[in-house]
Amino acid sequence: MDLKLDHYTEGDTEIVVVEGEIDVYTAPRLRELLIDLVNKGNFHLVVNMEKVEFLDSTGLGVLVGGLKRVRAHDGTLDLVCTQERILKIFRITGLTKVFGIHNTVQEAIDKRSAK
């Protein structure tokens, strides 16, 4: 299926909900959304990937790009993902050390608040 994007605010965190396939064709839309959110002053992002069916290196590049942008404002970008097949590509590329990857949106928010 194609990519569906949504986002909502929870406290000082913007939750981005991603559904479908993130690949070389659809990743530019996610990139535009992340840039738009940062440009509007949202520097704490949580990307919920529980409904992502496919993720490739282009999608990883967009997520790292988003991380770079929020860090430039002392912000954070955390991920919510429990799907083994999606987590695998983060492991292969070593990006599990770069992103905070959580089981739920609430866990992602709580862990950042505790820092």
């Binding site: 530019p28 496919f54 490739d56 290196s57 282009t58 590049g61 590509i89």
Partner: protein, 184 residues
């Protein structure tokens, strides 16, 4: 060996088509269910890399994808129009393996690529925003794509040349191929 050949225009939208076809053919060939996701991802990475290279160097040229089921008794040779002489030939090692060959026609010497641990790739190789070269695809990093392919495929061989790059990937087939008619 049965071979299925797909030619795609160098457009990101067609990478998904290539992925779906690779997964379908792999399933039919009897690849273990756990490896189907790996094949889908590796083929997508190889095609994304090829599309990105073509967009810069030769956007009008097609990209060739070959899916070779080493278990099939079909031995009818596939004859392809090959103006550039680029159609790679299997080297006979494909028996009892599922092999995928992605061939592009972009000169390899102009494409800066590397395969290695992800850590060095994090600095500068993630193309994003203003880092994207003219005609490039935002967010795509060829080096990272090849690193993912290397991590996923059971065997990988990458042959770059001034006439294009050939990426060969293969996975072992299970002894009893699946003939489940619903396996589409």
């Amino acid at each position: 060996m049965a071979t299925i050949t797909l030619t795609i225009s160098a457009l990101p939208a067609h990478v998904r088509t290539a992925r779906l076809m690779a997964a379908t053919v792999a399933r039919r060939a009897g690849i273990a269910a756990s490896a189907i996701d790996e094949i889908r991802l590796a083929v997508g990475e190889a095609c994304s890399r090829a599309v990105a290279a073509h967009k810069v160097h030769c956007p009008a040229q097609p990209i060739l994808l070959q899916l070779i089921d080493g278990s099939s008794p079909d031995t009818v040779p596939v004859s392809l129009p090959d103006a550039a002489g680029l159609v790679p030939h299997t080297d006979g090692t494909g028996a009892q393996r599922f092999e995928v060959i992605v061939s592009d026609r972009a000169p390899a010497q102009d494409t800066v690529e590397s395969v290695g641990p992800a850590e060095p790739l994090l600095e500068g190789l993630f193309l994003d925003g203003e880092d994207t070269p003219p005609g490039g695809i935002s967010g795509f990093s060829p080096g990272l794509g090849l690193a993912v392919i290397t991590g996923l495929a059971d065997e990988v061989k990458i042959d770059p040349s001034d006439r294009g790059t050939i990426v060969r990937m293969s996975w072992p087939l299970m002894s009893q191929p699946s003939h489940d008619p619903s396996a589409n």
